[in-house]
Symmetry: C2
Subunit: 309 residues, 2 copies
């Protein structure tokens, strides 16, 4: 079993490569739910949906989220009733949130619902939310504490980041299967996701950090920072706010307690020495997943680095 | 103030005529909510929506319900998750149910939500649900007790009707304003709606029957049965099941405790004598609302009969 710690778009694209070289049945993906939020009373789990939509081939590739060729009629009507309109939810996408919310209200857990949905999408890998409890990533800014989606989508990352808070994390427990999966994994791959708000939120759930530290499988991370900037999203702003180096070195330092190997882009190979100074071996390869072949090649390289090549 | 007791399509069309001859501000509509049902965890109030959509001009005129040119993408996706698909809910229409459900969960009453929505639709008449509590119209059939929507929409009225039960009605109370509106009305008009499941459900809420009986305003009903059959819907099957005459006479008998005048279609004028034998004066006119002019003419006639012409 191979475990992948995952956020949204970057992780989903990495997983598209991984399922080309490893049978889905061998994969367990532990997904960030710190970005989850209620919209219109419906529970939206953006990263879980991005992973499911991407792997089942229905994702809107242009955005990296949502369903291809979706319409926005429900949202337009909701807006006419005075509802907020800054988080785009397509009509087909809304079905996922309506269905999930219905099942949550019936008493099912997010894990159970996610497992039902991934089956309905024809996926045979295991997708586990990091926790079945509410953990909410908040960004401390001069304007106050903002839910991550408000910081990123509503206010377009313009607020200076003072701190990142994973509200509810310390009282949350990992979803069923999460700690066992890490413990039993042949390798644990940290996807090229935002280290703070996608992976940091997972690390904030009690037990995960220790499980990674004690894991017998190798822990291999792929840097989401290439050439001094993230491929997508506000990782640089968040890392700067937390006084981290916006570089693969900063990422490696953030993961150093449990990281066995850091995979970085070839254009950052001059940083190998700095990462190895942290006591972490580093490998440079092409990490930019432009197409299916590049995704597959990256997955192969990462598996090789993890001793499973 | 004029009060109208209303179901769905027939009532909405009658109201389209009425607002041509009376300022909306003078109207209070008391709407059946016995047909309400949860779909996908969302609260659907079909008759309230039909009235709002019709009077605001967005209704799908072909069906008489739903929003014109709506799409069905959310529902199609919901169906792919194994949800039932027999009650058509368009994407724009779903926004109403999502919004209503969100506000109900926030603790608002159906009355408060309906009042907010009708304002958002630019309507200035008062729309009151019959009750803020759940009252559910069930049809007793050989196949068991069916929710009215299951009887009508899912099973297309094929089951023999043994009885009609308004579950929860005896414990429910009228929504705020309902009894006062009836008490203070210059006239109470009973729309040409299904006497059993649209009007009977309203009559089943404690206090309504007595308020109508004691009302100082005239109570005038328009027969939904013309030429021995309803214009739309299963009123005939329900009336037969309850051993009623499927005729304006049967309707008049059902309302006889509080009815002052029965308005019937001109093709049924031979029944005037039979209705008057019940002690209820009857007036024949054209009640078939083919177009806007016919709706207006019917409204004018009914007001005249009610002494407000």
């Amino acid at each position: 079993m191979i475990v992948v710690l995952a956020g949204g778009v970057g992780a989903a694209r990495f997983l598209q490569g991984l399922i080309q070289v490893v049978p889905q049945e061998r994969l367990t993906v532990i997904v960030n739910t710190g970005d989850d939020r209620d919209f219109y009373g419906l529970h939206v789990s953006p990263d879980i949906d991005i992973v499911m939509y991407t792997l089942s081939g229905i994702v809107d590739e242009t955005h990296g989220w949502g369903i291809r060729n979706d319409t926005y009629n429900t949202m337009q009507q909701l807006t006419s009733y005075g509802n907020e309109d800054w988080f785009m939810l397509g009509d087909r996408d809304l079905a996922t949130h309506i269905h999930r919310t219905k099942l949550l209200r019936q008493g099912k857990t997010l894990s159970e619902i996610t497992d039902e949905l991934r089956k309905q999408f024809g996926l045979t890998l295991r997708i586990l939310p990091m926790s079945d409890q509410n953990v909410r990533t908040h960004i401390q800014t001069p304007a106050g504490l903002l839910h991550f989606q408000e910081y990123m989508v509503k206010r377009r990352c313009v607020d200076p980041v003072l701190d990142v808070v994973f509200a509810g994390a310390s009282e949350a427990s990992t979803a069923p299967g999460v700690l066992d999966a890490i413990k039993e994994a042949e390798a644990i791959l940290i996807a090229p996701s935002n280290p703070i708000v996608s992976i940091g939120s997972i690390l904030a759930i009690p037990g995960i950090h220790d499980a990674l530290h004690e894991a017998s499988g190798m822990v291999v991370a792929i840097s989401p920072i290439v050439g001094g900037a993230p491929i997508k999203g506000p990782a640089d702003k968040l890392m700067l706010g937390l006084k981290m180096d916006v570089s693969p070195v900063g990422v490696a330092r953030y993961y150093r307690d449990f990281l066995d190997v850091m995979v970085i882009d070839q254009q950052d190979k001059h940083l190998i020495g700095a990462i190895e100074d942290l006591g972490i071996p580093a490998v440079a390869t092409n990490t930019i997943m432009r197409d299916s072949a590049a995704k597959k090649a990256l997955a192969q390289k990462v598996l090789e680095v993890a001793g499973l090549g």
